[in-house]
C-alpha cells in the first residue's frame, strides 16, 4: 500500500508498536475511524438481521426474546460506540489541529488514553452478549431494567466507561480550540467545523457526567435495591427518565452538531463561494448546545409528568427548530448562485440537507403534545430518529470521509463509484425509512418482531430498502480500500479549499506543517483568494 512520501505521518515512525503508543492526533483519528467503522458494521449487520425478521409478519428467524436483545444491542452499539464518537473522535481528531494550524491537540497523552478507554468500554459492553444480552432497549428504562434477568449491569457499565472517553475528547478539544490556534486566527476566523466541534465538546463535557452518575445509580439499584427508581420501595421510575434524558437529549446534539459542522465545510468548498451568514451559523451551534439542555422532557410526554411541565417542554422543543432552521437557510443561501461542483462529498451534503430537513420537521410533529400522544412508540419515531441520525449524521460522516480521504491517505478515491454509491445510499435509505413514517402514522408500534398483515407490504419494501443500503455500503468499502492501493496520488489541495488543513502535505508529516502556521486569509474568502496550482493566491 503506497501511502505518500516517506516522511508522512503514516510511515514515520514505523511498526505496530509505534501506532499503539502514538501520540499523533492523526494516527489516533485513524485508529478511532477504524474502530467506529467496525462497530458500524456490527450494528449494521444486526439491523439487517432485524429487517430480515420483519420482512414478513410471521416469525421467521428470531424469537421475540431474541428480537428484544437484537434491537437493544443494535441501538446501544449505534449510539454509544458508533455515532457519538464518530465525527468528533475520528474526523475531529484528524482535522481539528490541522484546521487551526496547530501541531497537535493540547493533551496528546489524554487523547491516546481516550482511545483505549473507548476500546475497553466497548469490549465490556459487547461482553454482555456472553451473558445472554440485554432486552431493555438502549435507554435501560426502570423499573424493567432493575428487574429483568438480562445482563444490564455489564452493558451499562460499558456505557459508563465509554462516557469517560467522550468527556476526555471534549475536554481536549475545548482546550485545543482555546489555546492552540495559529497566530491571527481569531474566533471569527475559525472554520465552521471548529465551531461545531467546540459546541459539541461543551455538550460532551456538561452532559456526559450526568449519564455517568445515572448509570451508577442504576447499577446500584440493581445490586443493592436502594429504591431510588423503584415505586415499591418509595422511589420514582420517571426520575430515571429525567436523569437519562437530561443527558440523552443533549447527546442527540453530540450526534448532529458535528454533522452540521462538516456540512458547512462541504457546502462552502463545493459552492466556491463565501459562506452566507458565517456568524449566524457559528452562534446557532452554541444556541443549539444551550437549548439542548432544556428540552429533555419531550421524551416523557406520555409517562406521567405534570401537564404544565409537558407544555413547557413542548414549547422549548420548538425553540430548537430556530437555530437549526437558521443553519439550513444559510447553507441554501450559500449554494444559491455558487459554482457548485457535484463531487461525492457534495452529494452527501445535499442528501444531508434533504434528509435532515425531513427528520427535523417530523421532530416538530413529535414536539407537539397532542400529536406525540398518537405517534408515541410507533414506527414514526423509528423513522424520525433514523432520518436525523442516519440521514443526518451518517450522511455528513460519509461526506466528511470522502472530503478528507485524500488528506488522510494521500490517495484519491474513484469519483464515479463514489457518486454511484451516494445515489444508491440515498435511494436505499429513503425506501427503508420513509415507509416507516407511513406505517407509524397508521399505528404500527415499534419494538415488535411481528405485526398484523396490514403492514406486510410496507415492511417488505422497507427491508428491500435496507438491503439496497447495505449493498451501497459494500461497494463503498470496496472502492475506498481499493483506492489505498491503486488510487491516484492526491494533491495538497484537491478541492481548492481555503481552510488550513489543505496547506499541509497529503498525507501530512508527523508534526503537520513544515513551518509555523499563521493565518493569511479567512476560511471562506473565496472572493479574495484563488487556488492556483496548489498555491493560494490573491484573486
Amino acid at each position: 500500500m503506497y501511502t505518500g512520501p516517506e516522511n508522512s505521518y503514516l510511515k514515520q515512525p514505523r511498526g505496530l508498536k509505534s501506532w499503539l503508543l502514538t501520540l499523533d492526533h492523526k494516527r489516533i483519528g485513524v485508529m478511532y475511524l477504524t474502530a467506529i467503522m467496525f462497530f458500524f458494521l456490527v450494528g449494521g449487520l444486526l439491523a439487517v438481521l432485524m429487517r430480515v425478521e420483519l420482512s414478513s409478519p410471521a416469525r421467521d428467524v428470531v424469537s421475540a426474546e431474541l428480537y428484544n436483545r437484537l434491537f437493544t444491542l443494535h441501538g446501544a452499539i449505534m449510539i454509544f460506540m458508533f455515532i457519538i464518537p464518530s465525527i468528533p473522535a475520528a474526523i475531529g481528531n484528524f482535522v481539528l489541529p490541522l484546521m487551526i494550524g496547530a501541531k497537535d491537540v493540547a493533551f496528546p497523552r489524554l487523547n491516546l488514553a481516550s482511545w483505549y478507554i473507548y476500546v475497553v468500554g466497548s469490549l465490556i459492553a459487547v461482553a454482555s452478549i456472553l451473558q445472554g444480552g440485554v432486552d431493555t432497549g438502549w435507554t435501560f428504562y426502570t423499573p424493567y431494567s432493575t428487574s429483568t434477568n438480562s445482563a444490564v449491569i455489564t452493558l451499562t457499565f460499558g456505557a459508563f466507561v465509554l462516557g469517560f472517553s467522550s468527556i476526555f475528547t471534549g475536554l481536549n478539544f475545548i482546550v485545543t480550540i482555546h489555546k492552540m490556534r495559529a497566530p491571527g486566527m481569531t474566533w471569527f476566523k475559525m472554520p465552521l467545523m471548529v465551531w461545531g466541534l467546540y459546541a459539541t465538546a461543551i455538550i460532551q463535557v456538561l452532559a456526559t457526567p450526568v449519564l455517568g452518575i445515572t448509570l451508577v445509580l442504576l447499577i446500584f439499584e440493581r445490586l443493592f435495591g436502594i429504591g431510588i427508581f423503584d415505586p415499591a420501595m418509595g422511589g420514582d421510575p420517571v426520575l430515571y427518565q429525567h436523569f437519562f434524558w437530561f443527558y440523552s437529549h443533549p447527546a442527540v446534539y453530540i450526534m448532529i452538531l458535528p454533522g452540521m459542522a462538516i456540512i458547512s465545510e462541504l457546502i462552502a468548498t463545493f459552492s466556491h463561494k463565501r459562506i452566507f451568514g458565517y456568524k449566524a451559523i457559528a452562534f446557532s451551534s452554541l444556541g443549539i448546545a444551550l437549548v439542548s439542555f432544556l428540552v429533555w422532557g419531550h421524551h416523557m410526554f406520555t409517562s406521567g409528568q405534570s401537564e404544565l411541565a409537558a407544555m413547557i417542554f413542548s414549547f422549548l422543543t420548538f425553540l430548537v427548530g430556530i437555530p437549526s432552521g437558521i443553519k439550513i437557510f444559510n447553507w441554501v443561501a450559500t449554494m444559491y448562485r455558487g459554482s457548485i461542483s457535484l463531487k461525492t462529498p457534495m452529494l452527501y451534503a445535499i442528501a444531508f440537507l434533504l434528509l435532515f430537513t425531513i427528520g427535523g420537521l417530523t421532530g416538530i410533529f413529535l414536539g407537539t403534545l397532542a400529536v406525540d400522544v398518537h405517534l408515541h412508540d410507533t414506527y414514526f419515531i423509528v423513522a424520525h430518529f433514523h432520518y436525523v441520525m442516519m440521514g443526518g449524521t451518517v450522511m455528513a460522516l460519509l461526506g466528511g470521509i470522502h472530503y478528507w480521504w485524500p488528506k488522510m491517505w494521500g490517495k484519491m478515491y474513484n469519483e464515479t463509484w463514489g457518486r454511484i454509491t451516494a445515489v444508491l445510499v440515498f435511494v436505499g435509505f429513503n425506501v427503508a425509512f420513509f415507509t416507516q413514517f407511513i406505517m407509524g402514522s397508521q399505528g404500527m408500534p415499534r419494538r415488535y418482531y411481528s405485526y398484523p398483515d396490514q403492514f406486510a407490504f410496507l415492511h417488505e419494501v422497507s427491508s428491500v430498502g435496507a438491503y439496497i443500503l447495505g449493498f451501497g455500503f459494500l461497494i463503498m468499502v470496496i472502492y475506498l480500500i481499493h483506492s489505498l492501493y491503486r488510487g491516484k496520488p492526491a494533491a495538497r489541495n484537491p478541492w481548492g479549499a481555503l481552510t488550513m488543513e489543505w496547506e499541509a502535505a497529503s498525507p501530512p508529516t508527523t508534526h503537520n506543517f513544515d513551518k509555523d502556521m499563521k493565518l493569511e486569509h479567512g476560511p471562506y474568502d473565496f472572493d479574495r483568494v484563488e487556488v492556483e496550482d496548489e498555491e493560494m493566491v490573491k484573486a
Binding site: A102, K103, D104, V105, A106, F107, P108, L110, I167, L171, N172, I174, V175, T176, H178, K179, M180, V205, L206, T208, P209, V210, G212, I213, T214, V216, L217, F220, E221, L223, F224, G225, I226, G227, I228, M233, G234, D236, L239, F243, H511, D516
Partner: protein, 217 residues
Amino acid sequence: MSSESLSTRPAHLQHHFADTYQQGDAARLGMWVFLLTEILLFGGLFCFYAIYRSWYPDMFINAHRHLNVWLGGTNTVVLITSSVTMALAIRSAQLGKRREAVYNLVATLLLAAVFLIIKYFEYEHKIHLGQLPGKFYTFQGIAGSNPHVFFSVYFLMTGLHGLHVIGGMGVIAWMIQRTRRGEFSPEYYTPLELTGLYWHLVDLIWIFLFPLLYLIG
C-alpha cells in the same frame, strides 16, 4: 513565533506548544474543565439527595442522628488542614524550596490517610449495626419510611468521595517523587498546581457533604 527558539526550549516544554505560558494555560484550563465534570458527577447524587429528602424529610432527620458528628467534624478539620498544607507545598515550589515542598506534600498525604482511617471506623460501625444500603439494611429503630435510603445516599456520596481521596493520594505520592527528583522549579510547577486544584475540590465536596449528611435537622 515563540519567544523560546528551538535550541533554548526547556526540557518540560512539550513539542506542540510554542512556549511555557501556552502550555501552562492549556493545562490549567483543562483542569478546570475536568473539575467541572467532577462537580456534575456529584451533582447527580446531590439531586438524588435533594429529591429524597423532600419526599421523606422526617426519616432523613431521624436517620442522620445515627451518624457520628464528632468523627465527621474531625474529618472536616483534617481535610481543610490538608488543603492548607497542599497550598503551602505549591508556595514552597514557587520559591524553589524543594525540601519544604516535599515535607508539605507528605503532610498532605498523611492527613488524607487519617481521613480514610476515620472513615473506615465509621463504615465499620455502620456495617456492624446493619445500617447498609438498600436490601442489605437490617437495622431496626429509625422511625419513618425507607430509612435504608438515607444510608444508600450516605454510602454512595461518601464512597464516591472516598474514591476521589484515594485517587488524590496516588497523585500526591507521584508528585512527591517528582518534586524529590527536582522536576519542578519556580519557572515550572504546573503539575503541582493542578494537583492542588484537584485536592481543593475534593476538600470542597466534603465541606458540602458534611452538613448535608451529618448536621441536617
